[in-house]
């Protein structure tokens, strides 16, 4: 495998885009300079071929490698597209059982991390660059000493899904008397595991099978956003909500939550509750269900207020009706609630059907109890060696300062990581880790689903994976490749029977990227009701009287902060708030008014113990009044690297001040509730600072209804999103359709599309707004990052945006996500007005944008009813040479002053057509997948040839749900949208639409 990756260094350090970037302007000026250009070539292009040409590698032809995504610990399968020896795109592996072809925004964007020139280039010893030999020698010596005096060795990591690494760590630690492997997740699900330890006697994270559930009740679990394994869940969620078949199998999803999450925005019924209410709702659900089951609870559960009582009883009805096919999940890191939730699922008999404890998940293994214990040990100073890998405790744990101080006493603190982060800077030794695309690795994210990670590029940094380091310290100098092979031969190979020889098994796995084997057996004991009683007692003690909470949650783009150095994700609008480059304190309008705060006012959140953070506030629809929610992951050290991510000019504001950070770290507010980390923090006082900070959002008006005279959104409603309730849909498949206006043309139909005609259908019922498509498009099409200031000026460049609309009807808030991209109109208004024929129609119905012909009058953008055209207002910086290696060589890098927009990934169309031609066959449906379609975890986007009657897209085009946005304008868009159907009976969403003249 390795020698496939042999690539001449020159090619890596000399991206052709480099010259490409400077081209347009240069040409421009010489053109302007006149016609008297000489004969000889101005700057000679030196081309250097491979010296020894590996058979597979043809320059200019992409190679694909199956691998595993390391964006988070969910372990999705990816296909890595490499061109001329460098990865340029990650796409979901359709065969992979976890992600099934989907890949979230984080996964897509993790590619950029590879080309981060700020990754460590050499091991650090006491803050100074050193060599591996010296570092190894020093550490080994230290370890010897520790081994002799039986010092305590602690290995602190995040969730590690790699069986090999885990095994190696175990072996390594076993060579010490007092050694422990402590695992924690910065955004912890520990309570969920602990709860199962109490109720089922095994500390495991079950695998939730949303596809099997017809009733889903989520208590603050953002499973479509960031919770555990979003892609897997989204796929399953979609599967359980299909409109095919009569009657359609379409789950009913109730979301009890305190802030508006992506999951909540997709729920059929959304109940906003305060944390305390949440606890009580849980117990109430349990008590009502046990009553239904004809049993009684040992503890009396208090009644809820009228609103919640109604919701819960309805909820219980549904759950009971569908027991065995229902699922209750809870995202609160509180053992008591989790135990109660387990009890609920037990009563409903969901264990074994929608909850799988035998094929349990390893996607989150954090154990807060262990962590707490370790922290005590550190404070009391009896840890002699601390190894930190994959986590950043001095950043993502509360009270980082005193922790750091305590660490001074540790004789041997070592950290493994990509950069010199908050933790690393307190360590004696920092050992750089390679990027996942540079290394060998393996993963078992769900018991029995093992996948491999293989290097797809020659390492850009001389880093060394953890497993190799350990093996060196243990005296066996094995390469990661051998270690993994060995481990697989030892343990994993035996857990399957299909393949006879290990080599076959290995090669097949390597090719497919994954293999399915027997899960490790674990002793799951039957449900233990004893735990429930005292959990209920605990919950009932919580007083229902109102008080202010701060909810801390993972950022939906940079998660717990591990991706804070990723410009793509920093500029990816949050699917709900649409905020970029910042974290905010979100609160309800009511609360904001009571505090007399306005959008962007900076507040100080004081927590006793002098833990203070300052944040601008953001007024958020559907937010619970007693909760202020703050996203974790921001305020990472070194993010002032983005100071100049936006273009420099007279009135430009830097994205982040020099020495500052992007956003603010909210971790100091976290609090220990006993032995678990709590993400609901009470006892916070809010203080106005009087200052105001601009928040950069990509959507400024959030409603489908016109603003009325006072600017409130109570005006006429616009026909943009067709909506229907499941009930009305079942009655009439074209329910909620807008009036179809007569579309007569003054012109004769002169232009026919005899060959292909490309079209797209976007299913609004499927789309969750997760924004994976946005990043996928950005990577595929070389879309630059423009920085906070430019976004604030509404100059973001992402070709695909997701419009998020709110509809408020009294209590209930309805949210609709609508991906909006170039509609490739048949009668494109942009084309008629372009003076220089820079945007015209092609013979396959594409609306072409020819960058090199564009003069930049912006007339086309003005005349675009969808406003999906984006202009290069400046020469947007594209980072250093290394960062530029990520550019897709098949797509022109646009220069300043030209218009750009979605091209339906025309480069893919062209290549697919050429391939077909070369193989002498016709193009098949599915040969061309647009980047957005490929990555969509919800399969909401279908792209293809509308002229081909058998293509999926042409079938969808005929679907009664399909409509076109702004059809009445007669521009004949090539993109069809499918009615957004919600499993909410008889909601008159379709009515009240406007009649179009």
């Amino acid at each position: 495998m390795k020698d496939h990756l042999h690539t001449s260094e020159d090619q890596l350090n000399l991206p052709e885009e480099f010259s490409r970037r400077s081209f347009l302007k240069l040409a421009g000026f010489t053109f302007a300079g006149g016609v008297l250009a000489g004969c000889q070539q101005s700057n000679l292009e030196k081309a250097i071929p491979h010296l020894i040409k590996p058979e597979e590698l043809v320059p200019g032809v992409p190679l694909w490698y199956a691998s595993t995504c390391a964006g988070c610990s969910a372990g999705c399968g990816v296909l890595v597209k490499t061109r001329d020896g460098r990865p340029i795109k990650l796409e979901g592996n359709p065969e992979h059982p976890i992600s099934r072809g989907g890949l979230c925004a984080v996964g897509q964007a993790s590619l950029l991390g590879l080309y981060d020139s700020q990754r460590l280039g050499a091991p650090l010893a006491h803050g100074k660059e050193s060599t591996w030999e010296q570092v190894d020698a020093a550490i080994k010596a230290e370890l010897e000493g520790i081994r002799k005096r039986n010092g305590a060795v602690r290995f602190l990591t995040g969730t590690i899904t790699s069986p090999t690494t885990n095994e190696l760590v175990r072996r390594f630690l076993s060579t010490f008397k007092d050694a422990r492997h402590v695992v924690y997740d910065p955004v912890s699900s520990s309570a969920l595991l602990d709860a199962h330890e109490r109720t089922h006697g095994v500390r495991a994270l079950p695998q939730f099978r949303l596809e099997k559930a017809t009733t889903i009740v989520s208590l603050n679990a953002d499973f479509l956003g960031t919770w555990l394994s979003p892609v897997e869940f989204t796929k399953a969620y979609r599967q359980g909500r299909s409109l095919q078949g009569t009657p359609p199998v379409f789950s009913y999803h109730t979301q009890f939550e305190s802030r508006l999450s992506i999951t909540g925005s997709n729920a059929d019924e959304r109940v906003s509750v305060s944390p305390v209410e949440l606890a009580h709702v849980a117990s109430r659900l349990l008590s009502l269900l046990t009553e239904r089951a004809g049993r009684r609870l040992p503890v009396a559960v208090p009644l809820l207020d009228e609103r919640l009582e109604r919701c819960t009883t309805e909820c219980v009805e549904r759950l009971w009706r569908t027991k065995g096919k229902s699922l209750v999940v809870c995202g609160v890191n509180d053992v008591a609630i989790q135990v109660v939730v387990n009890a609920i699922n037990e009563v409903l008999g969901n264990y074994g059907s929608t909850i799988d404890l035998n094929r349990s998940s390893y996607q989150a293994q954090g154990n807060d109890t262990d962590l707490a214990k370790l922290l005590d040990e550190i404070r009391s100073g009896n840890v002699s060696a601390l190894f930190v890998d994959g986590v950043n405790p001095f950043y993502d744990l509360p009270g980082a300062q005193e922790l750091a101080a305590a660490c001074e006493t540790i004789p041997l603190p070592v950290s493994f990581g990509e950069r010199n982060d908050e933790t690393a800077e307190h360590m004696h030794y920092v050992l750089p880790q390679p990027h996942e695309l540079e290394r060998w690795n393996d993963s078992e994210a769900i018991a029995g689903i093992v996948s491999l990670t293989q290097p797809t590029i020659q390492p850009l940094r001389p880093a060394r994976p953890l497993m190799e380091t350990i093996s060196i310290w243990m005296g066996t100098k094995e390469s990661a490749y051998n270690l993994i092979r060995a481990e697989w031969e030892r343990s994993i190979f035996k857990r399957q029977t299909r393949e006879q020889s290990f080599t076959q098994f290995w090669n097949k796995t390597l090719h497919d990227g994954f293999a399915i084997v027997e899960p490790k057996r674990q002793a799951v004991s039957s449900f233990n009701p004893a735990a429930v009683a005292e959990s209920l007692r605990q919950l009932s003690t919580q007083s229902l009287q109102q008080k202010l909470f701060v909810e801390l949650h993972a950022s939906s783009t940079i998660l717990d902060g591990r991706h804070a150095h990723n410009a793509w994700l920093q500029e990816l609008p949050d699917p709900v708030t649409k905020i970029v480059w910042d974290n905010v304190a979100s609160l309800s309008r009511k609360r904001a008014e009571s505090l007399n705060l306005h959008e962007g006012d900076v507040v100080r959140l004081n927590r006793e113990g002098g833990r203070v953070i300052e944040l601008p506030i953001h007024i958020q629809q559907g937010h619970q009044d007693d909760v202020i929610s703050v996203s974790l992951g921001y305020g990472r050290k070194g993010t002032d690297r983005f100071h100049h991510v936006n273009p420099k000019w007279l009135q430009a504001k830097p994205t982040v001040e020099k020495g500052g950070t992007v956003g603010t770290n909210a971790a100091p507010l976290l609090e220990w509730k006993g032995k678990t980390l709590s993400y609901f923090v009470s006892g916070i006082e809010v203080e106005r600072t009087g200052t105001n900070r601009q928040i950069a959002v990509t959507q400024e008006y959030d409603f489908l209804t016109n603003p009325n005279l006072l600017g409130e959104s109570s005006g006429e409603k616009r026909n943009i999103i067709q909506q229907a309730s499941l009930a009305t849909f079942v009655a009439n498949p074209s329910a909620g359709s807008f009036p179809k206006p007569p579309l007569d043309s003054l012109w004769p139909e002169e232009h026919t599309y005899p060959g292909h005609r490309w079209g797209m259908v976007i299913d609004l019922t499927a789309c969750t707004g997760c924004s994976a498509c946005v990043i996928s498009c950005q990577v595929e099409n070389n879309i630059p990052v423009v920085g906070k200031d430019e976004v604030a000026r509404n100059r973001e460049l992402q070709w695909l945006r997701i419009d998020r609309y709110y509809e408020e009807e009294g209590e209930t808030l309805r949210v609709a996500h609508q991906p909006m991209l170039c509609q490739h109109c048949g009668n494109a208004p942009c084309e008629t007005v372009c003076p220089v024929l820079a945007t015209v129609h092609n013979s396959e119905g594409l609306n072409q944008q020819v960058y090199n012909r564009c003069v930049g009058t912006r007339y086309c953008a003005n005349n675009c009813p969808y406003k999906v055209r984006h202009f290069n207002w400046f020469q947007y910086p594209r980072g250093d040479e290394i960062a530029r290696m990520v550019l897709n060589p098949d797509v022109t890098v646009r220069d300043r002053g030209v218009m750009e927009k979605c091209t339906f990934c025309v480069q893919r169309i062209q290549l697919a057509k050429i391939e077909a031609k070369n193989e002498g066959r016709a193009l098949r449906d599915g040969d061309v997948k647009s980047a957005c379609q490929q990555s969509c975890p919800a399969d909401a986007i279908i792209f293809g040839d509308v002229n081909d009657p058998n293509s999926e897209v042409s079938r969808k085009m005929k679907d009664p749900r399909t409509y076109r946005v702004l059809e009445e304008l007669g521009v004949r868009p090539s993109i069809g949208y499918m009615t957004l159907v919600r499993n909410s009976d008889g909601i008159a969403v379709a009515e009240g639409g406007m009649k179009n003249g």
Partner: protein, 221 residues
């Protein structure tokens, strides 16, 4: 007479103006070149590789070295290893070898190995010594060929599409097999591409009907 003269002068003036304009225009269309029109570009390469010899006399197929042209966007410059396939044996022109043999025969000694100066460069490039023998101390350094045919970065020309639909290499590159040093024959202007496509659509390639797109995004994306 005065009046007459005036008319004369005006006429003369007009004629002069018309002439100069037409001259300018013709010159503009004929030999004035736009920037990036490198027609006739013929750089000196680091190794004086002769296409005339290899492709012409020896009749080696273009695709033998530029195999990429069949499968890829780029035809590709062959790696030095491709050269070495033959040149690990062939170290000099047959004539000079014969010379050496004669000389050796005269001096009654075994003939020495002759290595032509350009092949010495090749050997150095792949990390052998001048005589083409292994030498651990040397490292491969590659050959910095100078690119002759280059298109603007916003143009995507795909070799495989053209080669596979029967376009002869010579159509664009001229009779390379007759060139000692490769020269850019066509002007590679957009008009040149488009008009060839139009022609192909009208008359097909070698009488075989083809669909040569003249959509912008066939080349610009």
């Amino acid at each position: 007479m005065k009046l007459l003269n005036n008319r004369m002068t005006t006429v003369v003036l007009l004629v002069a103006v018309v002439l100069t304009m037409s001259v300018f225009f013709t010159s503009f269309t004929s030999n004035m070149r736009l920037p990036d029109n490198h027609q006739g570009f013929e750089p000196v390469q680091p190794i004086a590789y002769s296409h005339r010899l290899h492709a012409g006399e020896l009749g080696i197929d273009c695709l033998h070295c530029h195999g990429g042209a069949e499968q890829s966007r780029t035809a590709g410059i062959p790696p030095a290893s491709t050269c070495m396939n033959c040149h690990q044996f062939v170290t000099a022109s047959i004539l000079s070898v014969r010379e050496e043999d004669k000389l050796a025969a005269k001096e009654s000694r075994p003939p020495r190995k002759i290595v032509s100066p350009d092949l010495q460069k090749l050997y150095r490039a792949v990390g052998l010594n001048e005589m083409g023998e292994r030498d651990i101390s040397l490292t491969a350094e590659g050959i910095e060929w100078i690119r002759v045919h280059s298109l603007p970065s916003f143009v995507y020309f795909n070799h495989s599409a053209h080669v596979n639909s029967g376009v002869a290499c010579q159509t664009c590159h001229g009779n390379v097999e007759t060139m000692e040093r490769v020269r850019q024959v066509s002007d590679l202007s957009m008009g040149w591409c488009v008009n060839c496509h139009r022609d192909a659509n009208a008359n097909g390639i070698n009488a075989k009907p083809v669909n040569a797109s003249i959509d912008c995004d066939a080349c610009h994306h």
